[in-house]
């Protein structure tokens, strides 16, 4: 497969991939078409009908209020710190647990993973009360702390999996050369886990950026709401301007797509582990 991939004739590969990609894009194309229709057209003929005419008006409408751009900014203000702090803390824990014989390391790892397995519904109300006691309720700081803490177990677990894959000789050699624990972490392990860090980083970015549950649990001020609840807020109780909502969604997807495209080169074709041989 990996190997056959390289032997597949280009036309076969591209033909197959193009068809699959096209299927993948159908729903997204429907979003785009919806975003280019007018409300009256949608309301009169329904979503599934052929569009009467196409216009960029919905995009103008979506951007007109302060809401959309403000909510994207809010999402970024929460997401960027969460992704950075999460990756730093999780990679530290994963490194220590994967590369050192710390007592109870398996228990600690499993406990951290188990913490992540707790359904968020079990946490919502008590966490709300905790943030209130810390004075972090309805603040971005509260969102950052909670989302970081709640996700740590998962990221630690995934990075642990990747770090175990690093050949022992690599870190051992550095140790013999006198590197400290921190030095090995910083200069050997982190660069080698870059593909995993990049992959996790783009996933973490996506999830945090699009979060709904924690936002509506911990935030109240509509000026602080991130994108998903803000877009939901564009829905009417009975009738919604789906064209504007679709446009707003397309706009809100841009940051995550940019992050993915920036990060993917690290986990796609960069330096290969073991290529030092």
């Amino acid at each position: 497969m990996t190997a056959t991939g390289s032997r597949l004739r280009p036309w076969l590969f591209h033909g197959g991939m193009a068809i699959l990609a096209a299927v993948w894009l159908v729903p997204l194309a429907l979003v785009l078409v919806t975003s280019l229709r007018t409300f009256d057209d949608l309301a009169a003929t329904g979503l599934a009908s052929l569009p009467g005419s196409l216009t960029f008006g919905s995009y103008r409408q979506a951007l007109a209020g302060a809401g959309e751009l403000r909510s994207i900014m809010n999402s970024l203000l929460i997401t960027v710190p969460v992704v950075i702090v999460t990756l730093v803390l999780a990679s530290m824990a994963a490194y220590a647990l994967a590369r050192h014989r710390i007592p109870f390391r398996k228990t600690v790892l499993l406990l951290m993973l188990a913490g992540n397995l707790l359904p968020s519904q079990l946490l919502l109300i008590p966490v709300l009360k905790l943030t209130e006691q810390f004075g972090m309720f309805d603040t971005r700081l509260g969102m950052i702390v909670v989302q970081t803490a709640v996700g740590l177990g998962f990221y630690t677990f995934v990075l642990h999996g990747f770090m175990r894959g690093i050949p022992g000789e690599v870190t051992q050699a550095a140790k013999i050369d006198g590197a400290t624990t921190f030095g090995v972490y910083l200069r050997i392990v982190l660069p080698l886990t870059r593909p995993a860090m990049a992959a996790l980083g783009s996933l973490a970015f996506t999830w945090t950026f699009n979060d709904l549950l924690w936002a509506i649990t911990l935030l109240r001020d509509e000026g602080k709401l991130p994108v998903t609840p803000a877009i939901l807020g564009m829905q009417g109780q009975y009738v919604s301007s789906w064209n504007v909502i679709a446009a707003a969604t397309v706009i809100a997807a841009i940051p995550t797509v940019v992050v993915f495209l920036r990060f993917q080169r690290y986990f796609i074709s960069g330096l290969l582990i073991g290529s030092s041989k």
Partner: protein
């Protein structure tokens, strides 16, 4: 596993003692800071909810302690049994297909060649799109005069046209497609990152030895994917047992509970409804199922790897 600081494994002695104890402190901090932070914000609040699962509580008036009543209620709750059955079906189908699909795409798109970057981005796109609109378009696809029935008509299969999300026989299975559409790109990314640890030299060596493509996949790629496979398996079980948003957005578990999952049932009783005690009990059961499935597997896999 070979990089063992002496400080941890045997305790420090002699001239290196100070360095060693500092090393120990660094390591402890590496583990304890994230560990404590997470435990404080997960297990500690969850304890309160576990207590709530032993009460009857509407979220407003004082909770009434009822012991294990909520857990006993599940036995006689037909909806719970449906949801449990559906969750197992979901785990097998959604979980299995997303792993196969993600692995397949990752293998095909791993090698640098013209255009792979675009394909990877396309398959990842559904992951980044907000659920609000994804649900909308999937409803368009499935509605009575929507895309699916249109296609069936175009190839002369009008008789197969159905109201996919509105019929109890098809609703659950119809939901799996949009769920896969959103999940496969994510699994692909994890496998792509994992494939980076596969040594291409091994493949070259095997090729010179005359191994077929399948043999090389079986004996080189797969074993080296083992660490990431553990991760993917855990991720898949977690996501399958927690799948919620697409189901909620499209059918809310209906028609008449036919596409109910434990997660949606939990939400409609404990979050939307006012049975917070029962809802908490359901969440505890979801946790027990997820943790049970994963931890049993992990304990075994961690042990075998350590032995190896």
């Amino acid at each position: 596993m070979t990089a063992v600081p002496k400080a941890v494994s045997r305790g420090a002695r002699g001239a290196g003692a100070r360095t060693a104890s500092r090393e120990t402190a660094v390591l402890l901090a590496f583990v304890l800071v994230p560990f404590t932070l997470e435990m404080f914000w997960t297990f500690w609040p969850a304890l309160n909810s576990v207590y709530i699962s032993l009460t009857r509580w509407d979220g407003i008036s004082p909770p009434v302690f009822v012991g294990l009543d909520n857990y006993l209620r599940m036995w006689s709750d037909e909806t719970f049994r449906t949801a449990l059955r559906n969750t197992v079906v979901w785990l097998v189908l959604f979980g299995g297909l997303s792993v196969l699909g993600g692995l397949g795409l990752a293998l095909l798109l791993d090698k640098p060649r013209r255009g792979v970057g675009i394909y990877r981005a396309i398959f990842f796109l559904p992951v980044v799109f907000s659920m609000v609109v994804s649900a909308l378009v999937w409803r368009m696809i499935y509605q009575p005069d929507g895309v699916v029935n249109g296609l069936l008509g175009a190839v002369g299969l009008e008789s197969q046209a159905r109201i996919w999300l509105g019929e109890p026989e098809t609703a659950l299975y119809a939901l799996i497609l949009p769920a896969l559409w959103r999940q496969i790109g994510y699994i692909m990314v994890l496998f792509l990152a994992g494939l980076k640890t596969v040594d291409p030299l091994l493949h070259e060596a095997a090729k010179t030895d005359g191994a077929t493509a399948f043999e090389r996949f079986r004996h080189i790629t797969l074993p080296q994917l083992r660490p990431v496979s553990t991760v993917v398996l855990a991720v898949t079980v977690i996501d399958a047992l927690r799948s919620f948003d697409i189901v909620w957005a499209l059918t809310k578990g209906g028609p008449y509970h036919s596409s109910e999952l434990l997660s949606t049932y939990q939400f409609s009783t404990g979050v939307l409804g006012s049975q917070l005690g029962y809802g908490s009990a359901l969440a505890v059961v979801i946790f027990a199922l997820t943790a049970g499935t994963i931890v049993v597997y992990l304990v075994r896999s961690l042990r075998t790897e350590e032995a190896a």
